[in-house]
Amino acid sequence: MTEPLLAINDLRVAFATPHGLVRAVDGVSLDVRPGECLGVVGESGSGKSVTFAAVMGLIRPPGRIESGSIRFDGRELVGLDRVDYRSLRGRDIAMTLQDALTSLNPALTVGTQITEVLLAHAEDLPSGRHARHREARARAIEMMHLVGIPAAEHRLGDYPHQFSGGMRQRMMIAIALSCRPRLLIADEPTTALDVTIQAQVLELIAGIRATLGMSVALITHDLGVVAEYCDRVAVLYAGQIVESGPTASVIGAPRHPYTAGLLASVPMLSNLDRRIRPIDGQVPGLVDLPPGCRFLPRCPHAAPVCVSTIAMRALEHDRAVRCVR
């Protein structure tokens, strides 16, 4: 098998809080392979966003990477100094955040925000100051065209609030893609958007991925989005991966009771007569968790063995599950 582009191994991230140490990411291992789209699914507090904030080097006190390794193209990122990280972020790895309105700077035009990335990272810009800016501007317009922003050359001077929600999300994707990163981390890129706009944005990401040969980590809570746009999926629960594998086989035949519970709890448009079955109880707090399976209190198949530490185990066909069943 080819080397993964991103390899996270046994990552642990904790936050010191007045209530105790919150282990937000507790032994997460996952790969993003060249050219693939990995879906990362989980509910609030599952650790999906923190995992990728760690990849971007964005964990700040009181948060701390306690142990583990994050290798990008063979290079270790845990402990990388700020200068090296700056040259990596935006150029090789880019991230889009859920809320485009609060992620873009309201006081700068979108043109300034996109050319800033190009001026900082693009290596093949001409050397003269004016020529550099002219080229960065031309590339910014090209990228805005690529993400489907109409009349891009006229909109460079606009501020974020002058764009609609869908257009702001496109703008953030344009900024993330401006230096043609090898890995795009898209954190809930469509959660704030309406379904018709969501479809436009997801197809845009899929199209650009195919054109640029980029890898994508798509963080979402929507299993429908995963089913339609991701090659493989990793399901997180309370800071741990509970199941991973090729999307169609995980969704078609889930092995972890949590994955099965999630699938059973959403209404399906194609089968409205199917009764939905909620998962009882709630996600546990992440302070002082017992060693056993974290899903145990909500699990319909709980057994005595589940109170001991459950490791991820590999199954056939590129699948893995953290369950003894």
């Binding site: 509910e43 609609s164 257009m167 309406d194 959403v266 399906m268 939905i276 998962i279 996600v283």
Partner: protein, 330 residues
């Protein structure tokens, strides 16, 4: 069965911007046409699902029906009474029978009140119960929404999102209303909790004989909970009918595009022709002439740009507002 709620030609516009001086000078203010001539009916014991994207006016419609926003014109008949004409005292009495559950369980509960206070407030306000009887009723309601007696003395911040929504539901139901507007009641919740709340709302509807107007942007949720559905676009209803009929065979080009855009877990739509809408929702301040959907519609012709489309009946229950119905339909 007759309708419990009948809304006819309801209009609600908002004035926006412009500032005080132009207003004093009597200049014409820009107006958002949030709800523009909506008619609907809900029979007792049924759920009408209202689908639409952000900005289509569905929440304004829900609130205007309860007169939380005063409608500009139109009639709202609830159990035979025209609610629009009621004075403050009569409206207050009517509110016991019509309640609302809000979308955001974080913003809609007073953080300084205990759960017991939050639930007792409507009972006190309407003079329904006091003393031990009031406490008994609060406890019974808590139990009905799946919370326990020990929760009564806690504050909203001590609860998870799903539990807070249970408190919001308990507050709406404590006066024993007949009709409840559920305004995106599960949109702010995690997937596994959404199903718990959907189940709870279904059970309460059965136990208390409720009638719901269920507002959501999630078509699968609407399809699951509703007897009838209405699809709203830019302040108007473009299609309505029995839920199964509309969602199995959507007729309006907008309904079809909306359904086509929903990502499917079972990838069931693969092989179906996909309809992609281009562009964003036009501004409700300056909606397109003719059919409001025409700039995004693949079937639009000259008449769509010039004349508002008529309401056409597919059958007794299912209606579509489109010039080209039924000839463009598959």
């Amino acid at each position: 069965m007759t309708a419990l709620l009948e809304v006819e030609n309801l209009v609600k516009h908002y004035e926006v911007g412009g500032g005080l001086l132009p207003r004093l000078l009597g200049h014409k203010q820009p107006r958002v046409q949030a709800v523009n001539g909506v008619s609907l009916a809900i029979r007792a014991g049924e759920t009408l699902g209202l689908i639409g994207e952000s900005g289509c006016g569905k929440s304004t419609l829900g609130r205007a029906i309860l007169r939380l926003h005063e409608p500009d014109s139109g009639t709202i008949r609830f159990a035979g009474t025209d609610v629009v004409g009621l004075d403050a005292a009569a409206m207050k009495a009517m509110r016991r029978r019509m309640q609302i559950i809000f979308q955001n369980p974080y913003a809609s509960l007073n953080p300084r009140k205990t759960v017991a206070d939050i639930l007792a407030a409507p009972l006190r306000l309407h003079g329904v119960a006091a003393g031990p009887a009031l406490r008994e009723r609060v406890m019974a309601m808590l139990a009905a929404v799946g919370l326990s007696a020990e929760h009564a003395s806690r504050y909203p911040h001590q609860f998870s999102g799903g539990q807070r929504q249970r408190i919001g539901i308990a507050r709406a139901l404590i006066l024993n209303p007949e009709f409840v507007v559920c305004d995106e009641p599960v949109s702010a919740l995690d997937v596994s909790i959404q199903a718990q709340i959907i189940d709870l709302l279904a059970r309460l509807k059965r136990d208390f004989g409720l009638t719901y107007l269920f507002i959501s942007h999630d078509i699968a949720v609407i399809g699951y909970v509703s007897d009838h559905v209405a699809v709203m676009y830019l302040g108007q209803i473009v299609e309505s009918g029995p839920a199964r009929a509309v969602l199995r065979a959507p007729q309006h080009p907008y309904t079809r595009a909306l359904m086509s855009a929903v990502p499917r877990i079972d990838r069931a739509r693969q092989g179906e022709p996909q309809i992609r809408l281009h562009g964003d929702l036009p501004s409700p301040m300056n909606p397109p002439a003719g059919c409001r959907f025409h700039p995004r519609c693949a079937f639009a012709t000259g008449i769509c740009r010039a004349t508002p489309p008529p309401l056409r009946q597919l059958d007794a229950m299912h209606s579509v507002v489109c010039h080209h119905f039924p000839e463009v339909m598959p």
